[in-house]
Symmetry: none
DNA sequence: AATGAATGAGCGTTCATTCAT
DNA sequence: AATGAATGAACGCTCATTCAT
């Protein structure tokens, strides 16, 4: 039992959780290391034991949260009997996860920074690719898409993501413009029309 | 003809144009008033003749650019003979405007700040409302949607916006995942399925 | 009459004088910009109106003080009737200037930083070259050195500088080990022996 | 034989050697204990087992290196048959030692700190006194200085040190301005002229 | 004897804002 | 209307020192 390592892991996690909160509340630039350290229950100096810079923390947090989001989705997702039920379950789960942990401000903070910073952009692009593949995998298990070509499915998956992202954004700024039902129906329709 | 006022209007516009560029390049926080003033061809002190704070500038710029975007859309938009052509024209125009003037980083900068700041959020919400109405107005001119109920059209318009926003975001981070054609077809299908 | 420029020049000079004092007292690294600004009667922020970095200030101060030292020497130096009087006058003047304005700690601070920093080193090397030429010029006016070869005079001048630097250093650490008289005599002797 | 003590002595020496290197490269202030510990092959915490502070290390290093320099000089120095050979041998040895172990930046770092810090100054003054006595001892073995008065020899020794220090400084900043031969000749001449 | 997590004070630098000119 | 010197509060980062392990 290595107490040092355990302690380090605990503080690392506290910093990650604290930064999740502070970045979500204030955005990357306005979140100060003082804020984050205070929230984590440490001093600013301690921060540099665990991270080499603010940017590194942001990147690590981003990787971690995007991964956690995907894991939580995959763990809880259960496809329905038909494509409609499957989509409905997926959308419901997406909406649910989206409301947890201050996800919206953090996610769009990632996006905005990705647009201007190439190394973040690369990461977000990978993340999109991941989701495209995940969605294709799910779609392929339905009778509707079983025999669709891969490039068609790719476009379809990207469209579904666009719808969800756009819904998420709209919901964050002007809640209740769209119902979950509308989103689900639209997705199902797009699937039927393309496949 | 008041020379003072004309001069003032000119420098105001120069600051607006300069800040459009600098905010798009660096984001709100990292854009310094020095950068903006230099870009505008003035000094920092001059800034405060036209704006009372950096935040005010950002808000004014946001209002102005969102308005300009809409005006440019409305001016150039010509509905086609049928809904499909109309949608295709609208999407093409949206994509075109979206690529001008470094629009993506600025637009999503607005969105991200809206999520965290209530007065900005209010503004963006109004902007969404505006677009919803504009889209409803366009849809109503087609035979497909002529007799649709208003609340159905609202959901439809919001869905179209979500698709476009989501496409815009994806395109900014990971270009060429989706074709314009896909987006148009999806919109047409959603229209058909809902109306 | 440009008040802005005058004001700027005054503050610039105050910063230069303040840094002269603070660098001499604390050395380059331990002298903080807060110290220097306080000593100058300004705040830290004002510093960056006049200098782009701490290092730039140090370099400017170094150039300025080395130049001032040389100017003061040249202005006050009057050769004697013979080489002995000339040397005696020169040494007395050197010793006098050396005791003004906290010169020793500043000068050796320059030297130490020169050893480790190439751009400073280049500057100090130029300064040495300057002094060698100045001393050669003075020596050439004496009948003893009138017809000496240039490379011999160069070695002679460098030796004289070594003696003065070495004396200056020793005097700064362990005062009164050597008399001015000794130094003068030694220089005269070296001149006689080489020329 | 105490294993603990031997181990302690070894790590002490490693820290001394490491700090010799790091102080020479970066100077006192910019040398961090992290740098030194890493160079020594330990961690920062271990440092405080052997030294109570950074300043103490610097002082111990200074004492040790000044002593080592003198020991190395005395061990290798062999007087010649006449004063000229003796001086030539001494100068050659001085120049040789001076080029070893990054001596210049360290030595002048000592000097600069001595000028500003009284306890270091005291130490350097003792060091100078030591060298004066050493040089007097050497000079007294020559027929030229055998019967010189002590205070005359003291001035002479101080002058020789000044020349060597000045040469060392000049050589460190602007190499090859003076030849070793010139320095030797000058010293011999000063000896002849004073004694 | 040695590690390494944590502190806390300090530093160089940036920048929105003010105001005399 | 415009300049630009000055402020003052932050901020990211460093580092000598402490202490539980």
């Amino acid at each position: 039992m290595n107490k040092h390592k355990i302690k380090k892991e605990i503080s690392f996690q506290k910093f990650m959780e604290a930064s999740l909160k502070v970045f979500a509340e204030k955005g990357y630039e306005k979140a100060s290391l003082d804020d984050i350290a205070r929230e984590a229950g440490y001093t600013k100096g301690a921060f540099y034991i665990h991270f080499s810079s603010k940017e590194e923390l942001f990147l690590k947090l981003m990787k971690s949260r995007l991964e956690v989001f995907k894991q939580q989705f995959l763990e809880s997702f259960t496809p329905g009997e038909n494509i409609e039920d499957t989509v409905r379950a997926g959308v419901a789960l997406f909406v649910h996860l989206t409301k947890k942990d201050n996800w919206a401000p953090l996610y769009f903070e990632f996006c905005v920074n990705a647009i201007r910073n190439d190394s973040i952009k690369k990461h977000m692009a990978d993340h999109y690719q991941d989701w495209i593949e995940t969605i294709i995998f799910i779609l392929k298990q339905s009778k509707e898409c079983k025999s669709c070509k891969d490039d068609v499915l790719k476009q379809l998956a990207a469209t579904i993501i666009a719808l969800l992202d756009g819904y998420h954004l709209q919901e964050s700024i002007s809640p209740n413009s769209m119902s979950q039902d509308t989103i689900s129906k639209s997705i199902v329709n797009v699937i039927h029309s393309i496949c």
